[in-house]
């Protein structure tokens, strides 16, 4: 059979894609839907429900008439209504507006950070219903839409019939023809010199925008053109235009995009069928001088100009934008502490009273990242004043924590302690607050208190590595203390971290086992968030099966980012097992199982691992492996004794592992189990099995320091190759934790037999 492939090209440069066209449903629905809308923080929003056949939830959505989208949804909202099936296929979503239901075939991904931030800052204005998405042009364009923001509604009527008379002038209104370009409705505006330009109808932004190129060409960088008329309406008398780049095209040249500030003064009716827009005034003009003052100050790009605007218009709508702009300008100018303090006070004062601490906390973080340490404390002290009134009670504690950290760094210990203690009352489990309190106590000689705080800090990824170092330092100083070890830390953090133990233990019988010891290899990474589910499943597996039946190893791979437990052996073994991601278990060299999942999926992971092991256990092996080893000081030495028939290509591997390694990474796994550290054979590829009289003995001896040194060198090489920065902690091998795993692997990759031994440790 001959096949021919033909490609139906999409409209490649009209980039929008919104799935199938929306359907408006419901015979019981009135002809025209009157949908209440409101302007919140400069955005037009609508309250509604969204649903699939599985679930219906309340939602708040942006209304963006000009945005090239259908229904955009936040992933969490989409997940809540099961917008997609497990295989990714979409489920139709219905938007339940008052008087109108609109169904779309699929959703689009929304800008989650924008939605989350908007909800965080404006939740009361949204009736505490989260802003989770956007309704765009694909939804609205089938309708005859009228925006009446003064009346607080948007009217959605079925598209009109084509009519010669439809676009006629109506007394008291201005009717202008529109063109449709790239799904936007454009009408012509005229500048004072009579030159025309195209302006799109829009609702995505509060300010009406004039394209920066237009402003520049007219010598009006602040957008303050003398006039901009549609019919006999001069828009320049109603609003100040915001100069911004307009990324649109129109054959008559783009002038700008209409904003909500014009729509607050006019009822605007858009008829896409008969191609007109009709403006009917609903509110008297009251030119916003403060807006113009802001755009002028912004165009000057100068701190003094912006500060002058704020002094003249401290309560203006754009004072919030202006104060943030001022901070950036002052930082760029390298302003003094006093001048910066003034700018930051403007930021605080321009914010709603119950969001001031939250806002100043965000400013502190930005300043700290930029290295403006002294300004961090100033910002924090301004923010603390409003802490009690803040909508988010944690904000003030986080501010105290940040101030404390900065002051501790500059040696103002007593003042730092005051702030840190205050922070810890509100956030007792915060890693950085506990770490900084520990540092303070250690500095001031209160070692037991310091120790206790380090323990609380060690389980958090952001503070864990430094807390580990602190614990190790203090353990040596504390009188009569137990030797610092993973086992000690594990006892101290018991109950504070996720773990998983099984209720039952494996009971071997003749039916469910043989002489087989299954080799279970776990490929993971300390910074892979999904590693936690795999690690907990692995922990369950280790607690269920005794070592006499399962020999375990874990290998850390350098993706998504290297951790200190990565080594050459791990990467080499992954290649041999055809593993390219740190997300799998491999049993007996060939059979794969899950190694990554959410923490609440640990049991499912464990069950799959257990099932695979149970299958493997019944395959008797023709070989037996016996290990004899001990650790003397820094040296591990011993012998592997293998019995069984000669087999071409069979190789013997002896791996040194640590039963537990403390390293808190982003995965939230704090103690890593059975971490492979290095080989006890001459090469990574093992030793060929060459028995004499059915037996082969392999003596081995290696220094732990030598293995550590090789691993640190490998990490250094990884860094040098551009692999990122790796902290050199958790690289030392604790002799008390040493475990040895040996296995025999055939030419086809299968593991024929394995054994594990925890060697005796002598001084």
């Amino acid at each position: 059979m001959t096949t021919r492939l033909a490609l139906a090209l999409p409209l490649l440069l009209a980039l929008c894609w919104a799935g199938a066209a929306p359907r408006s449903a419901g015979a019981d629905e009135p002809t025209e839907a009157i949908v209440p809308v409101k302007v919140v923080a400069g955005k037009l929003v609508v309250s509604c429900d969204i649903s699939t056949r599985f679930r219906r939830v309340p939602a708040t959505l942006f209304v963006e008439f000009e945005s090239a989208c259908g229904l955009r949804l936040h992933n969490r909202a989409a997940s809540g209504i099961r917008a997609e099936n497990r295989d990714g296929t979409p489920n139709p979503i219905t938007i339940h507006l008052p008087d109108r239901r609109i169904t779309v075939a699929k959703r689009e991904h929304g800008t989650e950070e924008v939605y989350e931030s908007f909800t965080k800052f404006h939740a009361p204005d949204l009736g505490e219903v989260a802003l989770v998405g956007t309704i765009g042009a694909e939804i609205l364009k089938p309708f005859h839409v009228t925006f009446d923001l003064h009346g607080g509604v948007m009217r959605l009527a079925p598209a009109k019939e084509r009519s010669e008379d439809a676009a006629q002038e109506v007394e008291g209104s201005v009717t202008a023809p529109i063109t449709l370009t790239n799904d936007l409705a454009w009408f012509t505006v005229n500048f004072a010199d009579g030159k025309p330009g195209a302006m799109a109808v829009g609702t995505a932004h509060y300010d009406t925008v004039l394209d920066t190129d237009v402003c520049e060409r007219r010598g009006r960088p602040a957008g303050d053109v003398a006039a901009l008329t549609v019919g006999d309406i001069d828009l320049a008398k109603y609003v100040a235009f915001r100069p911004e780049e307009v990324v649109q095209v129109h054959k008559d040249g783009v002038a700008g995009v209409l904003g909500l500030n014009v729509l607050e003064h006019f009822r605007v009716e858009i008829d896409r069928v008969n191609r007109f827009v009709r403006f009917t005034q609903t509110k008297d003009a009251d030119f916003p001088k403060a807006d113009l003052a802001y755009f002028r100050a912004r165009a000057e790009d100068d701190g003094d100009a912006m500060e002058a605007f704020l002094k003249a218009h401290p309560k203006a709508r754009l004072a919030r934008d202006g104060s943030r702009h001022l901070v950036n300008l002052r930082l760029s100018e390298g302003a003094s502490t006093e001048v910066m303090g003034r700018a930051m006070t403007w930021v605080n004062d321009a914010e709603k009273e119950d969001l001031r601490a939250t806002t100043m906390l965000e400013l502190m973080k930005a300043l700290a990242e930029a290295g403006h340490t002294k300004h961090v404390v100033t910002a924090g002290k301004i923010g603390v004043e409003s802490g009690r009134k803040d909508r988010y009670p944690d904000a003030v504690h986080k501010i105290h924590g940040k101030i404390g950290q900065v002051l501790l760094d500059v040696g103002e210990n007593r003042e730092a302690w005051r702030h840190l203690l205050s922070a810890s009352f509100g956030l007792p489990e915060d890693g950085m607050i506990n770490l900084n309190l520990a540092r303070f106590y250690e500095k001031t000689g209160k070692l037991r208190r310091a120790y206790s705080r380090y323990v609380q800090a060690v389980i958090k990824p952001e503070s864990g590595p430094q807390a580990m170092q602190g614990l190790e330092r203090l353990q040596a100083k504390l009188p009569g203390g137990e030797r610092y070890s993973v086992d000690l830390v594990e006892r101290l953090i018991g109950g504070k971290v996720l773990n998983f133990g099984t209720a039952t233990k494996f009971k071997p019988t003749e039916k469910n086992s043989s002489n087989r010891v299954v080799l279970a290899e776990f490929f993971t990474n300390a910074h892979l968030e999904a590693a936690i589910g795999g690690a907990l499943g692995n922990e369950g597996m280790l607690s269920h099966f005794p070592r006499a039946h399962v020999a375990a190893l874990s290998y850390h791979l350098p993706a998504p980012e290297p951790d200190p437990l990565v080594n050459e052996l791990a990467v080499h073994t992954a290649q041999r097992r055809l593993v390219d991601r740190p997300t799998v278990h491999v049993f007996n060299g060939l059979t794969k199982g899950p190694g990554a999942a959410r923490s609440d999926q640990k049991e499912a992971v464990y069950n799959r691992l257990r099932g695979t092991i149970l299958q493997e256990l019944t395959n008797a092996s023709r070989w037996t492996l016996e290990l004899d080893a001990k650790v003397e000081g820094d040296i591990v030495r011993g012998t592997l004794r293998v019995k069984g028939p000669a087999s071409k290509g069979l190789k013997l591997h002896i791996v040194l592992a640590e039963r537990g390694v403390l390293f808190p990474g982003k995965s939230k796994v704090v103690i890593h189990r059975m971490v492979a550290r290095g080989v006890l054979t001459a090469t990574l590829d093992g030793i060929a099995y060459e028995p004499k009289d059915g037996v082969m003995e392999i003596p081995f001896e290696r220094s732990l320091r030598e293995i550590t040194k090789a691993n640190v060198t490998y990490l250094g090489d990884l860094e040098a190759r551009g692999g990122g920065t790796v902290p050199k902690i958790a690289v030392q091998i604790d002799p008390e934790q040493v475990s040895i795993v040996a296995y025999a692997r055939g030419a086809a990759g299968g593991v024929a037999q394995a054994v594990q031994l925890d060697p005796k440790v002598t001084e």
Partner: protein
């Protein structure tokens, strides 16, 4: 299993850029003349850009390993260390870490002061803002500020695109002439208000000398014949020797440029929030001759090329193997949002019967 590539010419009627270039090739490329020592000098002041809005032709982030080294640029070696998931940075080069960066991105400012004695010997303070990102594979940095000055009333912005701390990397660093946010490569000649100026940038970026460019010039026009429904936001060309570079997106009647052989490097088309970038792809060189006018037709209609694999009775299409080329050979990449999937139709030509249709899911 086998793999085949199928190339389709979908009603492509394009002006052959190769022919166009060939017709003018006799002019030949010229060596870039250095700016004359005479002329005016303007000061360039450093401005950190906390809200990064510049669009660079070759944005690169450098992986941070042990230090951020700006010694060759008059700065120091700034040490870094990981503290948990945070990156600690010595921002003043005194050997101690004074800033701790958390999260997935950050903005920091490296500053080194000089003593009066050092200043008397010509040492200058060093100031350099960094954008830091940690996409999950370790921390990386790129320049977070620019050197800004004016030739007449036209703003000149220089950006250390290659991250070496210096601003005199012609053909490597980036620059903007005017108030646009789209940068071209640092060019030895710039077009200011229609006139060409040769420029010479101090390596530390503190000043720039400029003088009228006396060399031969012609006009290069990529904008007037660019067929697209979207706004042409940048069209960056660079001469073959890297000496000259310009953004031609706003030059709807062409831009006066020094005679040279130019290559389309990259650019951007936008429509509202939708963006697609393009790169040279198979676009041929355009030669600008003395007093000549070179017009290049690019944009739509596009040609699509794709590969497929047969596996038994199945045919597999891979989105990664789908490529789009414009009239001039420019290749369109990085569609945002990802464009609508093409529809693949499998036909039995013997009986003219459609066997199957397929699209990429997830589009």
């Amino acid at each position: 299993m086998r793999t085949r590539n199928v190339r389709l010419a979908c009603s492509l009627v394009a002006v052959s850029l190769l022919m166009l270039a060939g017709g003018l090739a006799s002019a030949g490329p010229e060596k870039a003349p250095a700016a004359k020592a005479a002329g005016s000098e303007i000061a360039l002041t450093y401005k950190a850009a906390r809200t990064w809005s510049y669009d660079l032709p070759e944005q690169r982030f450098t992986t941070i390993s042990r230090t951020i080294d700006f010694v060759a640029a008059g700065g120091k070696r700034y040490g870094v260390a990981l503290e948990g998931q945070a990156l600690a940075v010595d921002t003043d080069g005194d050997g101690t870490h004074d800033v701790r960066v958390e999260g997935k991105s950050a903005f920091i400012h490296l500053k080194t002061q000089v003593s009066k004695e050092s200043a008397a010997q010509g040492a200058k303070p060093f100031s350099y803002a960094l954008r830091l990102v940690n996409p999950g594979s370790g921390w990386r940095y790129a320049a977070g500020g620019a050197r800004i000055g004016k030739i007449g009333t036209t703003r000149i912005t220089l950006i250390d695109q290659d991250g070496d701390g210096r601003y005199d990397g012609y053909g490597k660093d980036a620059m903007i002439v005017g108030r646009s946010k789209s940068a071209c490569f640092l060019s030895r000649v710039v077009n200011v208000a229609g006139e060409l100026h040769g420029i010479e940038v101090a390596k530390d970026g503190t000043s720039l000398r400029h003088a009228p460019h006396k060399g031969p010039a012609g006009t290069l026009d990529l904008a007037s014949k660019w067929d697209a429904k979207a706004k042409l936001q940048s069209v960056i060309v660079r001469s073959a020797d890297g000496a000259y570079s310009f953004d031609l997106s706003k030059a709807t009647e062409g831009l006066k440029v020094p005679t040279a052989t130019y290559l389309l490097h990259s650019g951007k088309l936008g429509l509202g929030e939708n963006v697609v970038r393009f790169r040279q792809g198979r676009a041929k060189a355009a030669v600008v001759a003395k007093d000549g006018r070179t017009v290049v037709a690019a944009g739509g209609p596009l040609t699509a090329e794709f590969g497929y694999q047969r596996r038994g009775a199945e045919i597999l299409f891979d989105p990664a193997a789908l490529r789009y080329f414009g009239r001039a050979g420019e290749e369109y990449v990085t569609w945002k949002p990802f464009g609508k999937s093409p529809e693949f139709t499998v036909t039995d030509t013997k009986v003219s019967k459609t066997i199957a249709k397929a699209i990429f899911t997830g589009c």
